[in-house]
Symmetry: C2
Subunit: 241 residues, 2 copies
Amino acid sequence: MSSKLAKGAIYLIPNTLGGESTQDILPQEVMQIATQLRVFAVEEIKSARRLLRKMDRNFPIDECTFRVVNKNTKEAELMDLLLFLIKGVDIGVISEAGCPGVADPGAALVHLAHTQNIQIKPLVGPSSILLALMGSGFNGQQFTFHGYLPKERKERVKKLRDFEMDTKRNGTTHLFMDTPFRNMNVLEDLLNELGDLTELCIASNLTLPTQSIRTMAVVDWREKAYDLSKIPVIFAIGKGQ
Amino acid sequence: MSSKLAKGAIYLIPNTLGGESTQDILPQEVMQIATQLRVFAVEEIKSARRLLRKMDRNFPIDECTFRVVNKNTKEAELMDLLLFLIKGVDIGVISEAGCPGVADPGAALVHLAHTQNIQIKPLVGPSSILLALMGSGFNGQQFTFHGYLPKERKERVKKLRDFEMDTKRNGTTHLFMDTPFRNMNVLEDLLNELGDLTELCIASNLTLPTQSIRTMAVVDWREKAYDLSKIPVIFAIGKGQ
């Protein structure tokens, strides 16, 4: 078996959550590491290139290899990327937004790489889930992220009620999201189906100039008119510690 | 009621996870914002001062107000901090390590501030939970962080088995931690009580030069001798997506 050091490493490179400058939102080290890499496994080539160009205007995009990794990627394609690593080439993983591997493809490549003893190096950057949790004021010692909610209303409402019940009993914070065009359906269900005093946090446009993070009881949210139909939102049900 | 803009905001300032330089691990913007503040709610004054001095050698520590916020802080003290905000003074919240409000005090102040419509601004920085999740290769669409495990062995083992069962059934990733001096007890329980093929990720010394993130089946972990007794560790049970 070849030594560990001879193999390449996987660098998990966080992307911005919108149009903000990389200088503001990413640590210097992330930009230094990312712009030294030449092989990338990316969720979408266009946004990955844009990120690299934002990090360094003169980044040599044309000298790089980009492979798309998404939910349709077959294992043979991942094996192909693994070969780069085994030969000693480092790979950068870049998502469309936020941290690779969290509510996002990229985890499959990492999972496979562990079987070959490849070093994994997650880098620090924005995660809307974590920012929403921090900003909510809810219990951060015990929390669950549920990803996308069920599309079907009955199932969705059942889930939301389960979250509410678990928060009441155990104090767990429940975070979830949906595609922007279903945000208003989710909000409607939350306001119609949850108890008046259940606390709800709505965190939208995180890290953007239009960012908003509000925690209020459901009864107070009902008084507000919000348009969440076209913006990225993280919802949370929880309570203070 | 005074207008929103007249009130101060709460900035949640991530701390480093160890001795690394702030330049490497924190975005430029975080340091710019933090060093303009003069009132801080901190988990521990010493580590907060150290962080601010690392951000700016000439930071005027002596012109600043530091208030300790931890699990013993009474509501009257939080109300006192709220007064600063209502009067239009911004407050920075700093934990001993990582992101304020996540497995950490500070959430209580944020929770109270929401009742007064105070703006909350979580800033981007290192979270050992998120870095471990990214690095594990496990399901990031559905995960739970459980904080510290029960001290009592029987209860702890029951929890670990519950996590294992839920991962098998629902694919959820379960992340947890303990104080360094109990890490070896946790590891022992994991290796003795979980199934051979259950996958376990051990992420230690995150962001430090000695960082290690490994995902393997329990049967393979049993072959390894690891000393986790004095280092920060995040454990995860999960599976690939």
